[in-house]
Symmetry: C2
Subunit: 69 residues, 2 copies
């Protein structure tokens, strides 16, 4: 899994820390950290919660248009 910079950016736009976002979506702070870092694969349910907290959609935060690497 690749690093998810889009979450970090969207979070910055909402002025939320990883801890803030984690609490908003109901997971541990380490879980948000690992997701942004790309350590593992969140469930769709969690992705949807993150999207709603950040006012984005799944495609905007989690769709991969470029895996040309």
């Amino acid at each position: 899994m690749a690093k998810n910079l889009r979450i970090k950016v969207a979070r910055a736009a909402m002025d939320m820390s990883q801890k803030d976002l984690a609490e908003a979506v109901g997971v541990a702070r380490q879980t948000m950290n690992a997701i942004e870092k790309g350590d593992y694969n969140p469930s769709v349910k969690l992705c949807i919660a993150i999207c709603k907290a950040l006012n984005k959609t799944l495609d905007q935060l989690f769709w991969e248009e470029n895996e040309n690497e």
Copy 2:
């Protein structure tokens, strides 16, 4: 989790059985069955694989616009 009828429809449009789709995305047939049935929560990675196999995006297959229930 609610029943995901959109996957079933998209699958029908591609003329694929649950088994066909499961093989295309690399999971067991029971896993696809459970996802369509809404029994549990797939990982984003799996969702993305399903989307690509069905020529759809995450928003089209997994975004929930209506949870007014």
